[in-house]
């Protein structure tokens, strides 16, 4: 990799069945074509893993991938992407996390880690620069993420190491288990933690003292300085996110009548204010916190309120004497809150903290509990089955089920399967609010049409980050677009998908796009790698990655029939509020989406498109 900078040029291939660790050069051609992170990992996965593999079988691979800008001073260059076949969706999943772990991997000298096979016994991977080895982890199995991190720092004698781990949820293969680094940053969605658990891999602890070199350090500094100015001038990234975090959205989305409540039966939550960013800032916020190199700092360090401590105390380490925790993000406060009809902020913080410790995706957890609450209120399931009263608004039930789900105890064993499988089991599949087996996040697609198309076509199942058209349809960035209209939404969703994918691939954070643009990001990438590239080339790389993921999903058996929304979204109008009477008109948008993508009518990338993009 002499020619391409930004990268370290090395990847680690770990065969867990054989217990072997091999250092090999990164495929430079793929690095040029697919930019990095999500893209390069997708290329490796499609080369090496049969799309029809059982996600939890040893034949599936689990890839941790950084980008060329991870570990540089580019604002928000903190990210890594976990790429694998997801157990919740059966599709290629890409799950992203920030914090400090990914830069540390680069400083140790590695761009990616590919885990293959399955270890006979629990192990963790230890990396200290050139020293890389699999070590026994029997003593860590069963422990939470918080304890695992503290114990590893102690036993390795390297307190500066960064730890990414699974908790009991990953070990017990809860289908939406997460991989959590530094206790509160997570590759949260699509069950990547379950794949890690299926391989008997408990954690990756890494410490790196080396350097990340860039092609043109001076150009890099100039380009980064310009982007930092963008972020300082844009109100969202300079004031909104630091002051209120993502939770500022709670009141906003509620005012638009697009806040899903009680498992998407309603679109406004009367107590939204009690679980809002304003409430957090006034009553429970300790400070805001940045990921590596981040000049935004949207992270929330928060505390359980004095009144809440008795019932919902949290412990994140032996030294935590102030009940400090982190979060919640908007999506989590929504899923554990409004979607379950719960307005107790301390219960939400408690459940969210448990999700981090046990290693679970709070979005899918909250949404699945919400679906169970609907089943319970309809009388489809009884207290005899659930073991606890499960009406909407029951905060104690939320906390109890969070615990039970991670350990697959009691009714938690049903929740652990996600709401699609749970609904099918109890004879009411329509209770599942999501796409391709993955639960929706926090925006009602009946009130925001573009989000419906984004959810339906997302390669990893329902997701807000793959096509965040809310940015245009609600926030008005880059310009206001009518959320009720369907016209032009295909092009809008495609633009968001391609750009977001490109940003993901660089190793930067997607939140940059609230304050800056591809025109500012691309020069940083070029200065770092030294590979000539235009702004348009970068967006095309995003399109290339998107198509590659889609192609693989087609081969895994997913078809246009999977690009759909639940009946409730298509046929049941929103009963009240500003968007009363609206349904999602997916049928008006999807054919145009396929056409504009250059895909066949049944949603397969056509040869002409694949050739144009240079995909084999």
């Amino acid at each position: 990799m002499a020619d391409l900078k930004g990268w370290t040029g090395n990847i680690l291939r770990v065969n867990l069945s054989a217990g072997s660790v091999v250092k090999e050069p990164l495929n430079e051609e793929w690095a040029r074509q697919y930019v990095g992170g999500r893209g390069v990992a997708a290329r490796y996965l499609s080369e090496e893993v049969d799309p029809e593999v059982d996600p939890l079988a040893p034949e599936n691979s689990l890839i941790f991938a950084t980008g060329p800008l991870t570990g540089t001073n580019a604002s928000c260059g903190s990210r890594y992407m976990v790429v694998t076949k997801g157990p919740l969706t059966g599709a290629m999943t890409t799950s992203n996390s920030g914090g400090m772990w990914a830069p540390e991997l680069k400083f140790a000298g590695y761009d990616m880690i590919i885990f293959e096979g399955k270890s006979e016994r629990p192990v963790y991977l230890w990396i200290l620069d050139d020293e890389v080895e699999l070590r026994p982890a029997e003593h860590l199995w069963g422990k939470g993420v918080f304890d695992t991190e503290d114990l590893l720092k102690r036993e390795t004698g390297v307190p500066d190491c960064r730890v990414a781990a699974i908790g009991p949820a990953g070990e017990n293969q809860v289908l939406f288990a997460a991989i959590v680094n530094e206790k509160f940053r997570a590759a949260g969605r699509s069950g990547v933690g379950a794949v890690m658990g299926s391989k008997n891999l408990k954690a990756i602890a890494v410490r790196g003292t080396g350097a990340v070199e860039v092609d043109d350090p001076v150009a890099m500094m100039r380009a980064q300085w310009a982007m930092k100015q963008d972020l300082t001038e844009a109100p969202l990234t300079s004031e909104g996110l630091p002051a209120y975090g993502t939770l500022a959205l709670m009141n906003v989305i509620n005012e638009h009548g697009a806040l899903p409540t009680n498992n998407y039966q309603l679109a406004q939550f009367e107590n939204a204010e009690k679980i809002s960013g304003e409430e957090l800032a006034e009553t429970r916020l300790a400070t805001n916190k940045a990921c590596f190199a981040c000049t935004i700092a949207c992270g929330r360090v928060s505390r359980i309120s004095d009144e809440g401590v008795g019932r919902y105390a949290v412990t994140t380490s032996a030294r935590n004497w102030k009940h400090a925790t982190e979060g919640p993000e908007y999506e989590n406060a929504w899923s554990l809150g409004a979607d379950c009809g719960i307005d107790d902020f301390d219960a939400i913080l408690k459940s969210n903290t448990l999700c981090n410790d046990y290693g679970m995706d709070p979005i899918s957890l909250g949404a699945t509990i919400a679906a169970a609450m609907e089943l319970y209120e309809k009388g489809t399931i009884s207290e005899e089955q659930t073991g606890l009263p499960l009406g909407f608004g029951n905060a104690d039930a939320l906390v109890a089920l969070t615990e039970q789900t991670a350990f697959r105890r009691g009714f938690g064993d049903e929740i652990a399967e996600g709401s699609k499988r749970m609904g099918e089991k109890f004879g009411d599949p329509d209770v599942f609010m999501g796409v391709k087996g993955q639960e929706f996040p926090a925006y009602d697609p009946r009130a925001i049409q573009g989000m419906g198309l984004g959810y339906a076509t997302s390669n990893r199942g329902a997701c807000h980050l793959r096509a965040y058209t809310v940015s245009a349809e609600i926030v008005g960035i880059p310009e206001p677009v009518d959320p009720r209209a369907t016209e032009g939404k295909a092009e809008l969703a495609i633009a968001f998908q391609n750009i977001s994918t490109a940003v993901d691939a660089t190793g930067l954070c997607i939140f940059l796009t609230f304050g800056t643009s591809i025109e500012s990001i691309r020069p940083i990438l070029t200065a770092a790698t030294g590979a000539a590239m235009s702004d348009a080339d970068l967006v095309t790389a995003g399109e290339r990655i998107w198509n590659l993921e889609r192609l693989w999903n087609n081969r895994a058996g997913l078809t246009s029939a999977d690009d759909t929304l639940p009946k409730r979204m298509l046929n049941e109008p929103i009963p009240a509020g500003p968007a009363q009477g609206e349904v999602n008109k997916l049928g008006e948008m999807l054919p145009e989406y396929y056409r504009a993508r250059g895909w066949s009518e049944d949603g397969r990338p056509l040869d002409a498109k694949l050739a144009e993009l240079g995909i084999i």
Binding site: T72, S75, K289, A290
Partner: protein, 163 residues
């Protein structure tokens, strides 16, 4: 000699480590936080982030401890600087420094510390929140206020005990 100092406000720090990246970049032209001589300590449980770098203290213990006179004072900035060609890598300075802000670089086999970038510190430029600034302040003021406050508290406590 300049009266400018690195003034650090932990309350404003978000723990992003842009300062460490800038510091290592100035020294090596690459990004390598392990080479940085300003470091951010993160106390997660206390929700506190504390950047720390050399105070350039008048009574520099590192300089006094050095057996080969490898630490000198920069006439322009007042920074205590390590003379690379004189330093023998004995680490006595690292032991002597009460603040832990002079480091031993294994590869160079020499001590390394903040030299205030010859009067234009990169960390202060890189900090996105203004937690690190290079400015003219009287470092004595708050120390004096703090000392008086502590003293008053002692006096009150002792008097209270006496009565």
């Amino acid at each position: 000699m300049s009266d400018q100092v690195l003034s650090i406000d932990p309350e404003k720090c978000t723990g992003c480590k842009q300062c460490e990246l800038a510091c290592s970049w100035i020294q090596t032209g690459a990004f390598q936080p392990s080479k940085s001589v300003i470091r951010v300590h993160v106390f997660d449980e206390q929700a506190s982030f504390a950047p720390y770098a050399c105070f350039q203290c008048d009574e520099a213990w590192c300089m006094q401890a050095c057996p080969v006179n490898a630490i000198d004072v920069d006439g322009q900035t007042g920074a205590k600087i390590v003379l690379d060609d004189v330093c023998v890598g004995c680490k006595l300075c690292v032991i002597a420094c009460p603040f832990g802000t002079i480091f031993y670089d294994k590869q160079a086999d020499a001590a390394t510390k903040c030299d205030l970038c010859a009067g234009d510190p990169a960390c202060a430029h890189a900090c996105p929140t203004g937690a690190i600034e290079f400015s003219s302040v009287d470092p004595g003021e708050w120390v004096v206020d703090f000392g008086v406050a502590v003293n008053d508290a002692y006096v009150r406590a002792i008097e209270g005990e006496g009565s």
